[in-house]
């Protein structure tokens, strides 16, 4: 059950990852694993940023709504006021965001993950294990 390099690779520090690569040059896959991991970590930071931004934007609108009733009640077109436009805008923004995220994950994240995973699988098989299933081979 020896897992060469995986733990070092994951420690988050590039020097260690570099050491791992120096220790096992023959294990280098087609794609640079360290770069892939770093890219996925950056992407994850972005995902947190987006979620926090969406929550903050929602709460900001909610606070403005209870605080500035006159502003929300400002009529733009007939009975349709700013509050109703903002609410409809939130529906639209939500659908847009969901579609946008799904596309981003599909085009930008999945290929990197797949290559990383192929590398783990390859490494696992090379170490002589037979059960290199997607869910288990990292162990």
């Amino acid at each position: 059950m020896n897992r060469p390099g995986v733990d070092q690779l994951n420690s988050g520090d590039d020097p260690q990852s570099a050491r791992y690569l120096a220790d096992a040059p023959q294990a280098l896959p087609s794609m640079d694993v360290v770069v892939a991991v770093r890219r996925l970590r950056v992407a994850r930071r972005w995902m947190f940023f987006i979620v926090i931004a969406v929550m903050a934007a929602y709460l900001l609108i909610a606070v403005v709504a209870v605080g500035a009733r006159d502003l929300m009640g400002f009529r733009v077109f007939g009975s349709i006021n700013i509050g109703i436009i903002l609410a409809l805008g939130q529906f639209g923004a939500m659908v847009w965001l969901v579609g946008r995220y799904a596309r981003y994950a599909k085009t930008s994240l999945d290929p990197v993950r797949k290559q990383l995973e192929d590398d783990f699988k390859w490494r696992c098989e090379r170490s002589g294990r037979v059960d290199c299933d997607a869910r288990t081979h990292i162990y």
């Binding site: 994951n10 995902m47 995220y101 990383l116």
Partner: protein, 532 residues
Amino acid sequence: MTHALTFTDPGRTFPVLAFVVVFVACSMLMSIGVGAGEDTTAGFYLGERRLAPGWNGLAMFGTFTSAAAFLGYPGKIALLGYEGVPYLLAPMVGWVVLLVLVAEPFCNSGQFTVGGLLASRLASRPVHRAAGIATLMVSMPYLIAQLVGAGVLAAPLLGLPDAIAQRIVVVCLGGLMIMYAVFGGMRGATLVQCIKGILLLAGGAYLAFQVFQAFHWNPNALLNTAVNRSPLGRDLLIPGADMGHGMTSKVDFISLQMGFLFGVAGLPHLLMRLGTVSTPLKARMSVKWATILVCACHLLSGIIGFGAAAVVGAKAIEAANPSGNSATLMLARAGGSFALTATTCVAFITILAVVAGITLTAATALAHDIYGVAIMRGNASDQSELRFARMAIFLIGTISTVLALYVQSKQISDLVGLAFAIAASAILPAILYGLYWRGFTTRGATWSIYGGLISAVLLLLLSPAVSGAPTALFPHAHFTVFPLRNPGIVSIPVGFLLGWLVSVLDSQERQDSDAYAKHELRALAISHSHRD
């Protein structure tokens, strides 16, 4: 089981009742048919993980959209106008957390309960016990609120808005819910949730179409009529029509929305559905479709709410039910008896699908987390856990039905909000820390879960929702200390803060960096390709 009630006012109610009975009998047979032969826990809890993502998305939408979204919130909008709109917006926006941060790593963990997820890197028994208790505490109020909401259907179903008729409907629904969950398992629940999802969207679209057609596709005319017929007048379209000018009620409203916003990603019955697909890619697609369907459904609910205000009028709605729960059905009745029958069926299956999913989740928490791991230390056999799970469904179903009968006449609108607030303060912090934070410890997890849970429940007990106010559960007692009816604004930060603080101060538990390294790598290199 409801056929014995057909004597009551057969002239008008028989078609509705007959339709509902036939409808329920058909879906019941189908659900038992697909669920038959479930004799492993994986089959019973997860339907063997074979579901396609589109169907799972539909089923997630079906589990999520409760009686509140179809009956309660349109009623709130019809009576209070714009103040009801955040009830639709906040739970919808909350799906972002589930989609972006939780769905894929949760599915990838291979677990289907919150306890299982945390136990993949923390001490198994304490986190299973804590998460199991929190799951039960989220599920029970949610379940009771749905069953009480079913009482609203008693009027069109039986033709008498009578306390006894409501009780009969609640008991029948409780019995049906138990049978669905016991015999159908996850596959039966999935089936009823998918049927419900399609019917709910179709029914909502039909009602919204009728509303728009009545006003010649002019939203301005719709809103003007709603304003003219409402006692609130122009204030109908302005936020906070009902809340006065005090600071407390404003903070309270924000607190409610925070509970919805952060609660979605902590709802155990949604998380369990993430376990019914085989890969994280499919989990992401499920949540994507579910979110889009929730957006569509909530938009339709908003249109139905303003439509009911314009077509039926706030006075008639309030006269029928002070909380406005009958607005959707009254709008449907304005469209003729077919529309009323169809809408009643949709509302009935809406409730049934939600309660079947929640009962299954609560029973899983009891059988798997608390009995299987925390009590039997994982030594229970598959067979005995499955037997216990079926017993747990019976137990939970019976208790919640009895409690629903007890609170039938009380004001229960806060119960769904409470379930979301508990999910947001007790479950979400543990999930996010567990998935993403290296320094999270077992003690941090249990403190976060129990701390969030206790603070939410305690604040609610000390709030005007329970005592002091005329609308409270116990109007004549006075132990109000906390001024807000919704605990979220305090209890959510408490949950997050305790999880962080206790983990940081936890010097006894050596943080297992090897376990976390494996965990993080699994989360990063999420398996997408090899299982399709």
